[in-house]
């Protein structure tokens, strides 16, 4: 068990990066995914078209390609700095958040859109009938009910995102998977190392899943 004491702070640091990647990407993808869903149900054809194209393209491109694109194309070719002024760790972390958010937003959008479809049309009609505008109908009546009905599917998206953060290792972000690769190269204890990291991810995702399962039941809309 020396390996644990040798690497303990490094393991914790790496998982902390994983947690930060997950939380930030989760937050941004929730916001961007909600906007995409709003576009997909909007009465403006151009917005609907943009939403549909975005989701169908992004969903069908492997995440690794998106993350590598962020790093190679945005940073190396176009010189996007994302406010990281020469700090490469910060730059690639931010690019990874960008790629993960852009990718996950497509799944958030689709989960939310299926939630919107569970809200009876009468809800939106009654809201329009008292004089609420399209945006108000969406943000006050439809989306809150849609969110409540898709806590389960969104939990799955969040768990997938947690695991997908490992792709950030491809552009050198020092999260859990990168440290695992490094440890496997340096130490001869493949099984133990894999087990440690597998356990690390389960510790992150299992309680999240249980907690959000409980939340989902609690906020469900009774009809």
């Amino acid at each position: 068990m020396d390996i644990i004491s040798d690497y303990d702070t490094q393991i914790l640091d790496a998982f902390w990066v994983t947690v930060k990647l997950t939380l930030l990407s989760g937050l941004f993808s929730l916001i961007w995914g909600t906007l995409l869903a709003a576009m997909r149900v909007s009465p403006v054809p151009l917005m609907r078209g943009f939403g549909a194209v975005y989701v169908n393209v992004i969903r069908n491109v492997p995440l690794t390609v998106i993350i590598v694109f962020c790093s190679l194309a945005l940073a190396d070719v176009f010189g996007v700095t994302m406010g990281a002024q020469g700090n490469f760790d910060a730059l690639y972390f931010r690019l990874a958040v960008l790629g993960l958010s852009a990718y996950t937003a497509a799944f958030v959008c689709e989960a939310l859109r299926s939630g919107i479809n569970t809200v009876p049309v009468g809800q939106a009609e009654a809201a329009r009938a008292i004089g609420l505008s399209f945006t108000q109908v969406l943000t006050i009546i439809v989306l809150p009910q849609a969110f409540r009905s898709v806590v389960g599917p969104l939990t799955n998206v969040l768990i997938a995102l947690t695991k997908n953060t490992t792709v950030a290792a491809a552009i050198g972000v020092a999260e859990a998977a990168l440290l695992m690769k490094e440890m496997i190269e340096n130490e001869a204890q493949l099984l133990l190392i894999s087990a440690i990291f597998a356990l690390g991810f389960i510790v992150l995702t299992l309680p999240t899943g249980l907690f959000l399962g409980w939340v989902g039941k609690k906020v469900a809309v009774k009809r």
Partner: protein, 259 residues
């Protein structure tokens, strides 16, 4: 009935047209659901719309607050034509109360929130004032003690009365009711009709799609009989129920009376 005429007298310029439909046409694909509809509803008047299923009664109601756009013709409210889109249209809808067959209370909001929402978000009233008037309205429709419950916890009759309070909270110029009691268990129909009757007595302008003859006879000034997208007959409730002129109306009445 004396109360009705008293209430009517209290309304300034009674008899002045409030809602006017002029040569209104509407299609759903090939189906001509509203055919050359001309209808004038005076301020303070209660009009009952009756007719067989599929005759276009709901579409007529929905056209009046433009939940359903029309193909041709003109609809005016208080002298102004219905706006086509955007803010103006939303404002118009706030002036037209609508009560649906299936209640459509906001399922994730409490009864009180259902009634305050439009006042705060559309009428821009402050929250305390909105709550005060919401509670008064809930008392008026007899569900004051249910204010903090969610719609799913109420009976159908209670939900429909909350829906009426929600519409009244906007202080509408006219109220539209689309078969407000037909989704209710029989024992709850009267509690809703009583609220509507009271509203009629208070001088509210109302368009009511219903087959409740008792309500039509006691509260309506006029019955409009629709069939196949047309207004076939337009007369007083007494005249309509005892002595219908058209064959369509006779046929329809014999069916609803004998079943």
């Amino acid at each position: 009935m004396t109360e009705v005429s008293m209430a009517k007298d209290a309304v300034p310029a009674a008899g002045e047209p409030l809602v006017v439909l002029d040569n209104v046409n509407k299609h759903f694909g090939a189906l001509h659901v509203l055919q050359d509809i001309d209808l004038t509803i005076a301020r303070g008047e209660v009009v009952v719309v009756i007719g067989p299923s599929g005759s276009g009664k709901s579409t007529l109601c929905r056209a009046i607050n433009r939940l359903e756009p029309i193909d041709s013709g003109r609809i005016t409210l208080d002298g102004k034509p219905l706006p086509a889109e955007g803010r103006e249209l939303a404002k118009l809808r706030a002036d037209v109360g609508m009560v649906f067959q299936s209640f459509n209370l906001f399922a994730h909001k409490t009864v009180l929130q259902n009634v305050t929402l439009g006042q705060v978000k559309v009428r821009k009233k402050d929250k305390a004032a909105a709550e005060t008037s919401a509670r008064a309205l809930l008392d008026r429709v007899g569900v004051g003690n249910q204010a903090d419950k969610y719609p799913a916890q109420l009976s159908g009759g209670q939900q429909q009365r909350v829906a009426i309070a929600r519409a009244l909270a906007m202080e509408p110029k006219v109220m539209l009711f689309d078969e407000p009691t037909s989704a209710l268990d029989p024992e709850m129909i009267n509690e809703v009709l009583e609220v509507m009757q009271q509203l009629a007595r208070d001088g509210m302008t109302m368009v009511v799609v219903t087959h409740e003859m008792g309500f039509a006879r006691s509260a309506a000034n006029r019955v409009v009989f629709m069939a196949d997208g047309q207004i076939v007959e337009e007369t007083t409730p007494d005249q309509f129920f005892t002595n219908p002129r058209s064959d369509r109306a006779k046929d329809f009445l014999s069916k609803i009376l004998h079943h």
